[in-house]
Symmetry: C2
């Protein structure tokens, strides 16, 4: 999306965007500036019922904050009722704490300022998938991911114009010990991309290492005064936060770095087997986690996260791209807007093991839903396979192509004279065609989204070219991209300082695989 308001648009929010632009001197080309409304599934009465019930959950049932006494202390001082590790919140307490300090939007700075993103409001940032131990490609099938795969996906995201973010654990580099992977992951994001990235959350020390490495690149003061990482804090649903996630969230909040507090729900297993019940639990968990972050450092950027799938009631397996998680996502986005926070959801989610029609139906269903719901931070927008167990090379470029379509969809309708095209209809008239019309010639280049994956040729041409399916075409595309990849510039002194830091820290403690 261009930063220049060159078109008259059909829907509002321009003034708010202009204000944001004045505040944040970054190019809006780095993210989507939404020009269409959000889809509001539920009416106010339904939303108020869910909000009331979430407060009842917080008041009656409460949330466990496990093995993390400092959280209990903070929460008690803020007015929560503590019983062991069970924290109960008086009705309305969480909302008032959050709304007193949590920002409605924030800028996550990239090391290339042109790639900094604004998260919140009418903006949408599309982010690669996160967390898979396996990778898959057409040539070698499914295998454990390595650091080379990790770097490949960082490079592919860097080269994908529709992806605005380098992501976090784009796959698990299982060839590196668990307790040292974060060094290589953060370094790879900083070295092979200049897009914004996510920090490590698997241990508070690893979060501190992520902050330290960011400081080498951005400078100590800049990091403390701005936000350069957005990191993923999952709840242990139902109604529980554990010490690992609380520890990482605490580190990031203290350094003014953003966290997304994400209830991670497989509905039917980790939340009720209904849409409204699951939305209620999401809100209760998000309110509790975000409240904690605001108590650690009032004003620290925080995203209302959600990850919701439905469990198959036959097998217990998670399912994706089905209607109930879409309804949950729409509802959660509305709840986040009413709370006044940026919203995160999943993107190209699917259960399929391979980049086939199942993968695509499920991914498109979720991406369309997330886009219309008004997601601000769409994690898992590219690459996800097998319920997140595998990152697919072909799937990645296929999803990235869909991500470009999401940008065009959210770009809305050009209502300028050129867009209204009355002259074109006057020029062409009945029974003729528009292909050679002067209006068409003037506007065709940017008129329609051009897919890099879709084959729109005739059957005969397609057959002549080898009758390839989309995954086979995608296979050629990611290989060409990696072949054409060029490193973004990085000050050699900074690169050396990063490598020194990593080498020194890695030498300070033994390898461990936990």
């Amino acid at each position: 999306m261009s930063s220049t308001p060159r078109k008259r648009r059909a829907s509002g929010g321009r003034e708010a965007r202009r204000t944001a632009r004045r505040q944040a001197p970054v190019s809006t080309a780095a993210f989507i500036d939404r020009e269409i409304p959000c889809f509001n599934l539920l009416n106010d009465e339904a939303l108020e019922t869910i909000e009331h019930n979430a407060d009842t959950v917080l008041e009656e049932i409460g949330i466990e904050f496990r093995d993390f006494p400092e959280a209990l202390e903070l929460l008690r001082n803020a007015g929560a009722d503590i019983n062991g590790e069970r924290v109960r919140f008086p009705r309305g307490l969480c909302r008032s704490i959050i709304q007193a300090s949590a920002p409605a939007e924030y800028t996550q700075h990239a090391r290339n300022p042109e790639r900094s993103v604004i998260i919140g409001g009418d903006r949408t940032v599309l982010v690669p998938a996160y967390g898979s131990p396996f990778v898959r490609d057409l040539d070698s099938g499914r295998r454990y991911a390595t650091l080379e795969d990790f770097q490949n996906f960082v490079k592919l995201a860097y080269m994908s114009p529709a992806l605005h973010h380098s992501g976090g654990t784009v796959c698990e580099p299982v060839d590196i010990p668990v307790n040292k992977r974060h060094f290589d992951m953060v370094y790879s994001h900083l070295k092979y991309s200049d897009k914004p990235f996510m920090g490590s959350v698997t241990h508070p020390e690893r979060a501190e290492d992520s902050v330290a490495m960011a400081k080498i690149v951005f400078g100590d003061d800049f990091v403390e005064e701005n936000t350069v990482m957005t990191s993923l804090i999952n709840a242990n649903s139902p109604l529980t936060f554990d010490a690992t996630m609380l520890g990482a969230a605490t580190v990031y909040a203290r350094h003014n770095q953003a966290t997304m507090i994400s209830p991670f729900l497989l509905a039917g297993a980790m939340s009720p087997v209904t849409v409204a019940g699951t939305a209620t639990q999401i809100l209760a968990e998000a309110l509790a986690g975000i409240t904690y972050v605001q108590l650690v450092r009032p004003g620290a950027p925080v995203i209302f996260g959600t990850f919701a799938a439905a469990v198959s009631m036959q097998s217990g397996a998670p399912t994706f791209g089905t209607p109930e998680p879409s309804l949950i996502l729409y509802a959660a986005a509305q709840l986040a807007r009413r709370l006044g926070l940026p919203f995160r959801s999943g993107g190209a989610l699917c259960a399929s093991k391979i980049p086939d029609a199942q993968a695509a139906y499920e991914s498109a269903n979720t991406m369309q839903t997330a886009a219309l719901a008004g997601v601000n931070f769409m994690l898992h927008a590219a690459g996800w396979l097998e319920g997140g167990l595998a990152m697919g090379y072909e799937k990645f470029v296929m999803d990235a192509d869909q991500a470009g379509m999401i940008a065009a969809l959210l770009g809305g309708v050009d209502m300028s004279d050129a867009g209204l095209a009355m002259d074109a209809m006057r020029e062409v008239g009945p029974g003729s065609h528009f292909l050679g019309a002067s209006h068409t010639r003037a506007h065709f280049e940017k008129a329609f989204y051009r897919s890099k994956i879709a084959d729109n040729n005739s059957f005969e041409q397609w057959e002549l070219e080898g009758s390839m399916d989309a995954a086979q075409r995608a296979n050629g595309i990611w290989k060409r991209m990696l072949n054409d990849y060029e490193l973004p510039p990085l000050d050699p002194a900074i690169d050396e300082a990063l490598l020194d830091f990593v080498a020194r820290r890695k030498a300070e403690f033994p390898d461990q695989n936990y």
Copy 2:
């Protein structure tokens, strides 16, 4: 969807639906009764601009009604300005004629009353794809369609609970002469299904034959007083209607049968290369065509149709499932609602030749859009491949599975106490799971949509079962369906009368392939 309003729902329209139910004694299980809002892309100002411009097109440029003098006569008498075959409409004339008589919704009766559908308002009817000369399946690839294929798709639609309609030319039975195919097609719909169907539109006489055959089944008076067919009338865009389509529309309107007046646009070729310009042209064409139908018989049921794809500006080929046609579809649905008419769009549209990821991304993008836009009659909801040139067996059952998801999505959120599930959260509490909870056990059976195509098993289980992709699983499903198919009951006397009619009429004129 159930006809009993068993749930408290989050969005409105209940009263209107209850009224409709009193008027039409048909089961709502036969179609979707929408419980969620429509997505309104454009604001009123933008819609008014498009409406103003469409009136300018009708007033200044006008519409050609070709080779059909009786239309010119009717239109002249209604106040249009006729110049040769060019018809110009004073501003507002079309809208006032349409709103004076065209019904906002109507019942299309099926020969099995339980399968009659209400078209319009909050209802959505999902209909198979229409018009392909080829079929494709995994076993024999792509080949010309035959009457056997036609009958197979009628059977598959009959057996698909998420498809509410038998469709029309589900594929072209090219083994039957062009001028006699309609007998076999209409007979097949009546014989092999009891769902509602579409009549022939390729010649006015074939439309008359369709009416005559319907009368054998429904009775003469019933057909004249009710609607038992909904048939497809495409405009020859830009801004033209031809004698074939006008002739068929005239026949159907005279007999009180429904038509959908559908601008058929490949944007950039048959309409301007912009969203707003194409929406304007759609509205102008629909207004003109629908006005004509209302002049033929005021009150004859008519649908505001649209078929919009974008042309690839590199190759001239049509593309599907891309963002601009989605924006057009959202806009057109709003324009139809403001006019007060039922709305038709495409469904599972795609350019892919095979049921691969491209097909699924594109189809899902269009189906999600159509569903949220508020489509009442979703043509091409199952089977479409290759821009409509091929009907796919595997694609059909894959899309029909998605159609079931659309029904669940439009079913909305259960806001009853069971849906809100507070007892479930009280029962389970933090850190446990919901799988064995009494609330889960009471509600899991109808909780989540269960796909027949998706494989949600573990990677290992999937591999053990042959590492099949979605298309391979679909291949087994359509074969089992055809194997299990049973004829719906049909009075043997009626069957004999139909066969006699077809034999007599076929003998009256020689075979021709046009």
